[in-house]
C-alpha cells in the first residue's frame, strides 16, 4: 500500500535477451530502484501485441514492487507500430506455443539471474497472454505464481488443436506447481463461463491451489481502459485481487 511519505523510483527501458533458440529478442523491463530483493514478474502480452497497455502495465507492476519483464513475442515478425506487427501475426494464425515457451522461459531465467531479484517470480497474461501464461506456469519449472486474466483457449476441443497449438494448456494442469489467480468476465465469449468451469474442474481434480474471480457485467478484456469493453468497477476490483494475490504469494516468506 503506497503512502505519501514513501520514496518511489523506478527504471524502465527496452532490453535485449536471448529467447527461444537463443534468438535475440527485445523486451520491456521495469524495476523498482533499490537493492531489493524484489520479487519478479514476467508479463505475457496479448493478441494486440507488445503495445502501450503492456508497457504501462510493466511499469505498474514495478511501481508495486516487482522487477518486471515483458518480452516481445512478435519480435521475429518485423518492426513497426504494435498494431501493424500484431496484425501480421494475427493474419498468420499467431505464434507457436513452443516459441512462446522459449521466450517466457528465457525471461524467467533472466529475472532469476539478477542480483536484486528474490527467488520468487510470477507470470501474468491477458487474453492470448493468459493462455500462454497458464501454459508457461505448467511447462516451465520455477514460477511461484500465475495470474490468468480471461485467457481464451486454455481449454480446447480436439478439433481446435493445431501444429502451433498442439496441446490444450488445461491438459498440463497436473504439472502446475504454483498457485493460480483467475480473473474472468461472465459475458466473455472466449473463455465462456462454461470453459472457466472446465478449467476450475481440472484444477480441483489435480488438487491445485487456485482462486477464481468471475465478474458480472464484464466481458473480455475489461481491464483495457482504451477499449469499450472496459468496466471500471470490475477492473478496479480485479487489479486489487491481482496485487493482493501476488503480494501474498511472492512477497511472503
Amino acid at each position: 500500500m503506497y503512502t505519501t511519505d514513501q520514496y518511489e523510483g523506478m527504471l524502465a527501458e527496452t532490453v535485449i535477451l536471448p529467447g527461444y533458440h537463443a534468438d535475440l529478442i527485445n523486451a520491456y523491463f521495469a524495476r523498482p530502484l533499490g537493492a531489493g530483493p524484489f520479487p519478479g514478474m514476467v508479463l505475457v502480452h496479448h493478441l494486440p501485441g507488445w503495445d502501450e497497455w503492456y508497457r504501462e502495465t510493466t511499469r505498474k507492476f514495478a511501481a508495486y514492487g516487482y522487477v518486471t519483464l515483458c518480452p516481445n513475442l512478435y519480435f521475429r515478425d518485423g518492426h513497426g507500430t504494435p498494431e501493424d506487427v500484431a496484425a501480421k501475426v494475427r493474419g498468420a494464425g499467431g505464434v507457436s506455443d513452443e516459441q512462446v515457451l522459449g521466450d517466457v522461459g528465457a525471461s524467467l531465467s533472466m529475472l532469476l539471474a539478477l542480483p536484486y531479484v528474490s527467488g520468487k517470480v510470477g507470470v501474468f497474461g491477458t487474453c492470448s497472454g493468459g493462455r500462454h501464461a497458464y501454459l508457461s506456469a505448467c511447462r516451465i519449472p520455477g514460477f511461484s505464481a500465475l495470474v490468468d486474466c480471461w485467457g481464451g483457449r486454455v481449454t480446447m476441443t480436439p478439433d481446435e488443436l493445431t501444429p502451433m497449438q498442439p496441446v490444450a494448456p488445461v491438459d498440463y494442469t497436473a504439472d502446475l506447481t504454483c498457485p493460480v489467480l483467475g480473473i474472468f468476465g461472465n459475458d466473455d465469449h472466449g473463455p465462456t463461463p462454461e470453459q472457466v468451469n472446465q478449467l476450475e474442474e481440472a484444477l480441483k481434480m489435480h488438487g491445485k491451489s487456485y482462486e477464481f474471480h468471475r465478474y458480472d457485467g464484464a466481458g473480455h478484456g475489461f481491464f483495457y481502459y482504451h477499449r469499450p469493453l472496459y468496466r471500471q468497477e470490475q477492473a478496479v476490483d480485479g487489479w486489487q485481487k491481482v496485487f493482493a494475490f501476488l503480494d501474498r504469494t511472492l512477497k511472503g516468506d
Binding site: 496484425a87 493474419g91 499467431g94 466481458g219
Partner: protein, 90 residues
Amino acid sequence: MCTMIAKQVDVTGSGKAGTAWFKLDQASVSYDHPFDMPLEYALNIDFTNQAGGPAARVAVELDADSARKLVEVIQDVMHQAEVGGFMEAR
C-alpha cells in the same frame, strides 16, 4: 490469435495507405479482436505487401453483418462483370 480463425490468400492488386499506393500480394482474413472497431470480435482484412514489412498494410475491420453483405456484393459485381464480358485475360 485469440480465436485462431485466420486465413491468408495470395492476391494481385494495389492498395493505398495514406497518400501512397503500393503493390499488394497477400490478404489476411481473420475473425478476431479488432484494433479500432469497438467490438470484441470483428471480421478483419489486412491487404499487405509481404516484402514491405508490417507497415505495408491496408486494414479493414467490419462487423459480421457488414462482412457478409460485402461478400454478397463482391460476388454480384463479379458475376455482372463476367456476364458483361468485361473479364480481362491475364
